[in-house]
Amino acid sequence: MSCWTRRGLLLALALGLALLVPMALSLGAAEKTRRSVGNGHGTGVTLRPDDSHGDGHGVNKTKKIFPVLTFDFAHVKIPFEISLWVLLASLMKLGFHLIPRLSSIVPESCLLIVVGLLVGGLMKLVGAAPPELQSDVFFLYLLPPIILDAGYFLPIRPFSENLGTILMFAVVGTLWNSFFIGGLLYAVCQIEGTDLKSIGLLPCFLFGSVISAVDPVAVLAVFEEIHINELLHILVFGESLLNDAVTVVLYHLFEEYSGLGMVTFLDVFLGVICFLVVSLGGVLVGAFYGLLAAFTSRFASHTRVIEPLFVFVYSYMSYLSAEVFHLSGIMALIACGAVMRPYVEANISHKSHTTTKYFLKMWSSVSETLIFIFLGVSTVAGLHSWNWTFVTVTIILCLVARVLGVMGLTFVINKFRIVKLTNKDQFIIAYGGLRGAIAFSLGYLLHPEEFPMRNMFLTTIITVVFFTVFVQGMTIRPLVDLLAVKKKQETKRSINEEIHTQFLDHLLTGIEDICGHYGHHHWKDKLNRFNKKYVKKCLIAGERSKEPQLIAFYHKMEMKQAIELVESGGGVKLPSAVPSTVSMQNIQPKKSNSERALPQISKSREEEIRKILRSNLQKTRQRLRSYNRHTLVGEPDEDGWNDLLLKRQKIMDMDKQISRMSNYLTVPAPPPESPTLSRSRLASDPQHYVPKPTLGNVPIIKVDLASPQSPEYVSVVDEFQKEAVPLKEEDEDAGGLTMKVPLGDPKKEEQEQQDGGKEQQRLMRCLSDPGPGGAEEEDEPFLP
């Protein structure tokens, strides 16, 4: 089946669904009218006995044939409609990516608006009233997921380094924009010839404040696709987030006083106070909930399944709480996400972390899609009053104001910045000031009685939004390429960068102390110390609270690499003679010397073997485990981190003792220890256990899994097998883990040490497929 037929089918499905939506709506509407006509009292069952209009609800109980199949759409109407919309949104998203050329020219947001327009048009044709984007639906349900996603994954370092610049753009820039646009619009309105005389100064300012805010949803949607460098991205995006406080205050200020027509100096002063309260209050509320969430997650280790829920619910609560007091909900949400993230990530399991990440992305993606579609639908649905002058003047003023504002502010800001903003940067910042659904929703909230020109405002807002999204959104990508703006660097951080960056941080802090300057580094250092000393102890469970950031980073990196290794095909049988091994070190694009790599190989291969084996063996295990809704199949590593670290310590001490005790350890002689200890030692943390330098004659066991007998087992190549034999005795680092070899213990696979030949045979028997019986033994997770 060619891809065209598949695409065609999918598009047909999408269109069919698009038709279904208006059908469903019209059906619902028809049902509603029928019922209301029928009852005379609106929908619902009435209890009045003298209901003579009732058909089928009334008193006359004549016997009807028992209905085998009924059609009752009304009681699922609302969820049904919502699901249809969400389904439509998702199918559209799918559909666009099937046509790659289209999605590379036109940003997704534009396409979605067009779809919205089409659906709205269809609905109008069918006769159903297309729904408008209700403000409370937007602010309470559609916007929070997007902001939470942005806040939770906000890159803190560039954000805090550029905070001054961002605040300048957000606060001063938005104020400038509002007043410039508002004022000049008023001046234009006063001109003869346009019939806009009726618009007072304050409504103009109100309109200016609504239209001037850069919209985070639109910015995210467009900037995500152009992969611009981190600095510009964080500047524009940060501005779009932080200008919410300014917008809220200005909006309420002007709305309050628009009717009265006058704003005194006191009001302005109170407005400034209000701004401080709104922004700081929002941040505090968010931080409070964030700390609560972090604290709760500390105790969540026994109910891993609901861990992601805490992240979502606490964040949503912070948004709603801020909205109760008309504080800035967006800033609350950002603060909540940013504050809780480091602690929650240290506490929750790997699976929960992945779940959180994917749920956030999913919700924010669906929200964004819905917002754009609804924008399109609302355009068709709304009553419009078009006024050429007003619209064109607004668009021109928006552009001019933005450019002037950015240029002026950059001039001032560059005096304080270490890395200055170039002209190219300024252009992108100015061009990236997109307006979006927030402006529309704020306009929608205006009362028609107080603002008779509300429809005109709405029309203009929609036009500006369309203009910015379509024109600016479509052209920004070629412009970015044309101007050769630096793009985002795709590579991940290496451990070198991490270490050196921390080193340089300390260095700069020291230099600043020598200069006697309490700069950025000084305060950051103080904050880190405070964090380490008090906060982390409270909010992070167990051992992880003492784990320094570098170690956490290292863990993450090794884990990622091991997973990649397994996924990239290191998992199945490999030809044994191939010299290029699957060792992690060797995956990196350089050859490693055999002598030098010897100590490293053992750790990494142990880790890799462990992962490979686990992925194979878990298949058998999982079949046997009973299904339990409340627990997840035990993922060995993340649950056991803390225990691992503790156990490792014990193991280390034990080993020291043992190596001191016995000079010569032969494999067949069982060392004096309990089986559990040996098993736990076997399962010791692979990344950090360095084989102790034991004395020379320890015969060590090499696991050569290139056994043809067991196809399930991975054969990890060990090319050092041949040369290693003479070297081993001398090489002190090659002292392997001591072990006991009770037959039949399948955990021996994990051992990885170099060896003499006949031990191999014994091991082969150990390694043979445990079968169902063997798997039952493994009641505890693979690594205790």
Partner: protein, 194 residues
């Protein structure tokens, strides 16, 4: 302290200092004031104990290395010139400075900054960061919170990532290469010296 002219006139070779480091006279004056504040006995030079009086340095993991960087090989004192010259490494880059082809590399260029940082790692000055030196740095940065094995594995991994010529140590070029994505101009500049 008298008028600015008299302060500046106390500093010998002012012109050459400005030329070398790129500081403005106002900066030099500020730094001189700081130098005098640190110089407790009014000796005209700084000794390690004077640096020790800066108490935040005591809690800084690499505090003693930084202090050591001010004192070049074998010397016990730092005069004002060397003080300023070291601090000049942390001056923000001036992008518009014309590059004269025969002039020496400015002190605050990216390469010089990196070289300064490299020298802090490389305590024995052999031009390479050996595994032990790296371990020492890691040990001081991570203080008592990690075990030796963890440190060693991190050190091994670090060297292995950066080492291109296989000598189990990081040379200056490898150091520079591993940091090519990091914005050194930003990370190693202090606003105070702007």
């Amino acid at each position: 302290m008298g008028s600015s002219n008299s302060t500046l006139s106390k500093i010998p070779n002012l012109g050459r200092l400005i030329e070398e480091t790129g500081f403005t006279p106002a900066h030099i004056k500020r730094l001189y004031k700081r130098f005098q504040a640190l110089d407790k006995g009014n000796k005209g030079y700084l000794s390690p104990q004077d640096f020790g009086s800066v108490k935040e340095l005591a809690t800084n993991p690499i505090g003693d290395r930084i202090i050591g960087a001010f004192f070049s090989q074998g010397q016990e004192t730092v005069d004002f010139h060397s003080f300023v010259r070291i601090l000049a490494h942390f001056r923000p880059l001036d992008k518009n400075r014309a590059k004269r082809p025969d002039s020496p590399e400015p002190i605050n260029s990216r390469i010089s900054k990196l070289r300064f940082a490299f020298q802090l790692y490389d305590q024995d000055n052999d031009g390479k960061i050996s595994r032990d030196e790296l371990l020492q740095v890691l040990r001081t940065m991570l203080e008592m919170q990690v075990t030796e094995e963890q440190l060693e594995s991190i050190a091994d991994r670090t060297i292995q990532e950066a080492d291109l010529d296989g000598d189990n140590a990081i040379s200056f070029d490898e150091f520079r290469k591993s940091l090519e994505k990091v914005n050194i101009e930003h990370k190693m500049s202090s606003r105070f010296l702007h």
